[in-house]
């Protein structure tokens, strides 16, 4: 029965994605409905994950679809930290459509089923959880970078309606994106460290190589910020890094 919880979670995320689009027309009911959609959907997905964890003997999300399910939960959870405040609500416009689409994909791939899974090692589980949490943080940072570029473009073009939509201030988006990257990098570093501890020679693959490139890219981003790489340039680099994250996730989920 617990696996049916994916339906309300998906519906709530989908509702939130649509309602955030309504928020573009002006702050109000649509934004509040969206926020409640995110909260209820996340609670439903949490219950689903608890059900999966309770039924499985080990780490239940070691398939590509399962880890995608966990990844979506982490992304939405990270978003909820800021997303509930009216000022940052519009961030959901970049996060929730992606979350809804990925959860639907995880469902289609069987990642939301509740069944007895094969036992997996604790080290592998820790490695996967840390990596997924890190990638979730980077996804959130990419959402902020996308919102930054959208609003910056509107300000540069002197759009008449630039003040009609309640978007977070540019500086705040830039700062929060950098903080998200920093937090995600810590998790990624730990995840890579845990993975390296159980690494066997000859197992180095493309996903690992791209993961290291991701790590280097985001580390460069933080270093370059100190040299004045802020705003638009930082947002572009952030999105470029996220493109690599998408490659890693594709490689680990679909190619393995």
């Amino acid at each position: 029965m617990a696996e049916l919880l994916v339906v309300p979670a998906l519906l709530a995320y989908g509702e939130a994605a649509f309602a955030y689009a309504g928020e573009l027309r002006g702050p109000g009911l649509a934004g509040r409905l969206a926020t409640w959609g995110v909260r209820l959907g996340w609670l439903a997905q949490t219950a689903l994950l608890v059900g999966q964890a309770a039924s499985a003997e080990g780490f239940p999300w070691n398939t590509w679809a399962g880890s995608l399910n966990l990844f979506v939960w982490l992304v939405v959870g990270a978003y909820l930290i800021w997303g509930c405040t009216p000022r940052y609500r519009l961030l959901g416009l970049t996060v929730m459509p992606v979350a809804a689409a990925l959860l639907a994909l995880a469902w289609a791939g069987g990642g939301t089923a509740v069944e007895e899974g094969e036992r997996s090692g604790a080290v592998l589980a820790l490695h996967a959880a840390l990596m997924l949490a890190g990638f979730a943080g980077l996804t959130l940072a990419a959402g902020m970078a996308a919102l930054y570029l959208w609003q910056e473009r509107r300000l540069k073009r002197h759009e008449r309606g630039v003040l009609k939509v309640r978007v977070p201030p540019l500086e705040a988006l830039d700062r929060l994106a950098a903080r998200s990257v920093l937090g995600a990098l810590v998790l990624l570093t730990l995840g890579i460290g845990v993975g390296a501890a159980s690494f066997e020679r000859g197992n180095f693959d493309a996903a690992m190589a791209v993961t290291l490139v991701v790590w280097a890219t985001y580390t460069s981003l933080l270093v370059l910020r100190h040299e004045g790489w802020r705003g638009r340039r930082a947002a572009h680099l952030n999105l470029a890094g996220f493109a690599l994250v998408a490659v890693v996730l594709s490689l680990t989920h679909f190619a393995s």
Binding site: H158, R225, G228
Partner: protein
């Protein structure tokens, strides 16, 4: 029963030449309200702003003629011209008008916030009684409700406030943000004050005439500089507001580009309110620079005003709701004396019957009978009271009051005396 009369003149029908003839300061409003209340034996409040002068009267008889005469007297020589611009409203229409005024829906800029304070001041300076007290308190409540429940007052309504809102869109909170003012004229000052009201700090005022710049700098707690010394300041400030009367560019693309190298990616908002423009339009192409000229800001204001007009529909609904509540309350006042008389009659009968039976009852029995008869009266009169109030709200109150007075002979005793 008191009826409400409003006589006034506003920007809708009267040009400024007429409005300034009847404009009053708060002391004059207070004096006129006291004079009208004393002379007419009722209640009076006078509201006078740059857009309107309105007299609100409440008294037993119609007070319109006296109110018109008072406004005409204020107009002096312009009384003839004023006559065609005057509006006269009664009871519910007058209440609805005041609620719209308090909500900012009758203002030049829909939703402007200043009017609510002006209505409060007029009320406090007036001579209200039960009717005007209720009317103005509900008007203030309506004004607050509209601003809380709709977004009509949220967006900027002027060029200086649009500039400040843009600064918040770039930086968020403006506390501690440094502003450089180029030019020391009224436009610079108005924009500076708007930024200061949101927490920004005016760091430097640069002007061609250093003495003028020095005056404004002192007022704003800033440092005064000559215009040709601003290049270094561009490295440290967050917002530049320019409104000089220079005929050519005051800040070039190259100057800002040079400053950006030192700023390490910190954004810079530049607001050019001068015509001809002070700041090189190419500055907007620089990474991290946002340059707005006066036309850009006007377009933003127009757009937000259209948003305010959109919100006005929601605000009108709230105002109509409050006006209906006032109408129900006002109408119920017609029926209140009848209800009071009916209850007094019932109490009188109960008291006299209790007095007649009093000698035959013990103390305990008397208390018991008193309690029972009191409950019977309350239950018996509850439904008629509710129905009469409902009838009053539906405009049948007077008919119901007459019927009840006739059936129960209310007031006949007094008439016989």
């Amino acid at each position: 029963m008191s009826s409400l009369t409003l006589v006034g003149v506003s920007h809708h029908r009267a040009p400024i030449e007429l409005r300034e003839r009847v404009a009053l300061d708060l002391d004059a409003c207070r004096a006129l309200a006291q004079q009208l209340a004393r002379h007419l034996g009722g209640e009076a409040v006078v509201l006078s702003t740059c857009n309107r002068t309105e007299l609100y009267l409440a008294r037993e008889e119609d007070g319109e003629a006296e109110a018109v005469a008072a406004v005409m007297e204020l107009a002096g020589d312009g009384a003839v011209e004023l006559a065609s611009a005057l509006y006269r409203l009664r009871d519910e229409a007058a209440a609805l008008h005041l609620f719209r005024v308090a909500a900012g829906l009758d203002s030049l800029v829909p939703g402007e916030g200043e009017i609510l304070g002006q209505v409060r001041s007029a009320f406090e300076a007036g001579t209200p009684g039960p009717l005007l007290d209720r009317l103005f308190r509900q008007a203030l409540h309506t004004g607050r409700r509209v601003r809380i429940e709709t977004a009509i007052g949220e967006s900027p309504a002027s060029v200086p406030s649009a500039a400040a809102a843009l600064a918040q869109q770039v930086f968020g909170e403006l506390h501690g943000r440094r502003v450089l003012l180029l030019g020391a004229g009224k436009i610079s000052e108005a924009t500076a004050r708007n930024l200061v009201s949101r927490g920004a700090e005016i760091a430097v005022v640069a002007n061609r005439t250093l003495a003028h710049g020095d005056d404004l700098a002192r007022k704003l707690g800033a440092q005064a500089l000559a215009l040709d010394a601003v290049a270094v300041e561009l490295e440290h400030v967050d917002v530049v507001v320019s409104a000089t009367s220079a005929s050519g560019l005051v800040v070039s693309h190259a100057t800002v580009a040079h400053a950006l190298r030192v700023r390490k990616g910190r954004p810079l908002l530049l607001v050019d309110l001068a015509v001809p423009r002070d700041l090189d339009p190419a500055i907007n192409e620089l990474d991290g620079c946002f340059l707005y000229d006066v036309d850009d800001l006007r377009a933003v204001v127009e757009e937000t005003l259209s948003g305010r007009r959109g919100e006005a529909a929601s605000a009108e609904r709230l105002v109509a709701e409050e006006a209906e509540r006032f109408r129900v309350w006002h109408a119920a006042r017609d029926i209140v004396p009848t209800i009071a008389s009916l209850r007094a009659l019932a109490e009188e009968i109960r008291d006299s019957e209790l007095a007649r039976a009093g000698g035959r009852l013990s103390e305990r029995e008397r208390r018991h009978v008193e309690s029972v008869t009191s409950q019977i009266l309350a239950k018996l009169l509850h439904l008629p009271t509710i129905r009469m109030k409902e009838a009053a709200a539906a405009a049948d109150g007077v008919v119901y009051a007459d019927v009840v007075r006739h059936l129960f002979g209310l007031g006949e005793e007094e008439r016989r005396r």
